[in-house]
């Protein structure tokens, strides 16, 4: 692909999205609630587009496509199980939203700290989120580096791609906090969905249309259309991969924090429904993309090459190839900027705010703005170092974040849940995940680290809670929240 056109595409993308970020500077940006939650006044459509762009990273058109190439239709199942898990928003969304409106929580960890009446709970959850999400951002940044490098045959070096992605993510989150993230996310979501859909339709048309396309798969790669198929997606592998992602909408703070933002419960509903429609299309498109690579280039050395190979093939016109590449770049940046902003709010509110007692809202915001570039630089350094440690932590991220899930369920559904239960379950659960990932040991029953992390943290949370004393009054406040309570909130 011509480097000239890649640069032109990248420059146009930067100029337009920066323009959008700058014009999004409206409303109150001088307090924590305004900067990190948009004053809890976000409308449904923007929330939906931003939720989509934040959730779906470069993984979809590169990683998921590669997974489809390698393991077949099981990759679709993997993504659909995640998709089903988003329904947890229907259960937890109104509770988060109502609790946030009533008490002014800025982060899920702050809310849990209050529910369990323990600042240590807030700090431990915030720190464990940072531990797993900074390496995850680093891998996203590295993804951009590899993408630009691969598309231009090394004319754009790895580091240049990583620098571009870091600076953009930082600017999008810094310029107007969540407002610039949401507006640029929305633009990027639209670019992602339109470009990928067009290119997939074009490629399938080039391969002889849907029916011929599936006939080719059936004749030459029949294993790819069933599970376990070629054996890649054995049931235990499938279960181990999907379980952490099933709880993604709760366990990942950059998306669960979104539950505080819509201006109304109606807006929250529109966010959920809008996301589901977007996710349905984007998932099918990404999987069909992977299948197209399999039908066109069945003998690639590694599945990672599926997307670059297809993009630079005769099936995709060069200009469209550049546009899709920008779509993938946008998918990565829109995920990283949201994570940066959320981690900055977690650190300033739950770590700094608790360590240094009595700090004002303005001071916390100032710390948040200072910490934002520091987190970005850390992610950049991790991406540049290409350390094995980082990729292990990144793979462990979905598994590592899952250990907070029992505590989240306990917040709203179990009045016996205690701070000691949360602290021990999150700490020991995270250690279990890290041991499994770092040692590369074969976990019992062949179930992955996330499954064991969830089992261990659930058992510990229940047992320790039962032998310690719960804050009954506070617990009941949370357990008794009902959707109808929203009527009392103005």
């Amino acid at each position: 692909m011509s480097t000239y056109w890649v640069w032109i595409g990248v420059i146009i993308y930067i100029v337009i999205s920066l323009f959008v970020a700058v014009i999004s500077r409206r409303g109150n940006l001088t307090d924590m609630e305004g900067y990190f939650l948009g004053g809890r006044k976000m409308n449904g459509f923007l929330s939906a587009m931003s939720y989509s762009a934040t959730t779906y990273s470069a993984f979809m058109m590169v990683g998921l496509a590669g997974l489809t190439y390698q393991g077949g239709v099981g990759a679709l199942g993997f993504e659909i199980i995640y998709f089903i898990g988003v329904s947890l928003v229907a259960l937890f969304g109104p509770k988060f939203w109502i609790a946030g409106k009533k008490k002014g929580y800025l982060t899920p960890s702050e809310m849990m700290g209050d529910r369990y009446e323990s600042q240590t709970v807030a700090m431990i959850i915030a720190l464990s989120n940072c531990l797993f999400l900074i390496p995850y951002s680093a891998v996203q940044l590295a993804g951009v580096g590899y993408l630009l490098q691969g598309m231009t045959n090394n004319a754009i070096p790895f580091t240049v791609g990583v620098v571009i992605a870091t600076i953009l993510a930082l600017l999008f989150s810094f310029i107007a906090g969540i407002r610039s993230v949401v507006w640029t996310d929305s633009l990027q979501a639209i670019v992602m969905i339109i470009t990928s859909t067009i290119v997939v339709l074009l490629v399938i048309h080039g391969l002889g249309g849907f029916s011929h396309f599936f006939d080719t798969l059936k004749q030459n790669h029949s294993d790819s259309l069933a599970v376990p198929g070629n054996g890649y997606f054995s049931f235990t592998t499938f279960l181990s991969m999907t379980l952490p992602w099933f709880f993604f909408s709760l366990s990942n703070p950059q998306v669960s924090q979104r539950l505080y933002m819509p201006g109304s419960l109606r807006g929250l509903r529109n966010m959920l429904m809008g996301f589901l429609v977007f996710g349905f299309i984007y998932t099918l498109v990404s999987v069909l993309w992977g299948f197209s690579a399999l039908a066109s280039f069945p003998h690639l050395e590694t599945a990672d090459l599926a997307t670059p190979k297809l993009l630079s093939s005769h099936l995709v016109p060069p200009v469209l190839g550049v546009i899709v590449m920008i779509g993938i770049l946008a998918a990565a940046v829109s995920t990283i900027d949201a994570i940066l902003l959320t981690l900055s709010s977690l650190f300033s509110r739950d770590v700094y705010g608790n360590v240094k007692k009595g700090t004002s809202d303005a001071k916390q915001l100032q710390v948040g703005k200072v910490i934002l570039p520091i987190i970005a630089i850390l992610a950049f350094i991790f991406a540049e170092l290409k350390l094995n440690l980082i990729s292990v932590l990144s793979v462990a991220s979905s598994a590592g974040l899952i250990v907070v899930v029992p505590a989240i369920f306990g917040t709203f559904f179990w009045k016996r849940g205690t701070a000691a239960g949360v602290i021990s379950s999150v700490t020991i659960g995270a250690i279990v995940v890290l041991i499994v990932e770092f040692t590369g040991m074969e976990p019992p029953l062949n179930l992955g680290s996330g499954v064991w992390g969830l089992i261990v943290s659930t058992v510990i949370f229940i047992v320790v809670s039962l032998v310690t004393k719960a804050p009954v009054v506070k617990a009941l406040e949370f357990v008794n929240i009902k959707v109808s309570d929203a009527k009392k909130i103005r």
């Binding site: 239709v73 099981g74 679709l76 199942g77 659909i80 199980i81 998709f83 089903i84 988003v86 329904s87 928003v89 229907a90 259960l91 109104p94 599936f214 798969l217 059936k218 029949s222 294993d223 259309l225 069933a226 599970v227 376990p228 049931f235 499938f238 279960l239 099933f246 109304s264 419960l265 109606r266 807006g267 929250l268 509903r269 959920l272 429904m273 589901l276 429609v277 349905f280 998932t283 099918l284 009902k482 959707v483 109808s484 929203a486």
Partner: protein
């Protein structure tokens, strides 16, 4: 009332989750065509959209 409805929806949800795991690994393992697991999981996704539409229809009313 809210609790009763919640239990009903919760049961429906758990059934959908179990089917999404089991059907492709049992009834559809030998169906090597687009109308096998590919279609099944796509339909599950549509069912989930409908499910969420119904569960949240009274939000904010």
């Amino acid at each position: 009332m809210e609790t009763k409805r919640g239990v009903l929806w919760g049961t429906v949800f758990v059934i959908i989750v179990i089917l999404a795991y089991l059907i492709p690994y049992t009834a559809l393992t030998e169906v090597h065509a687009w109308y096998g697991s590919f279609l099944f999981w796509a339909i599950v996704a549509l069912v989930i959209i409908g499910f969420n539409f119904l569960v949240t229809r009274n939000w904010g009313k």
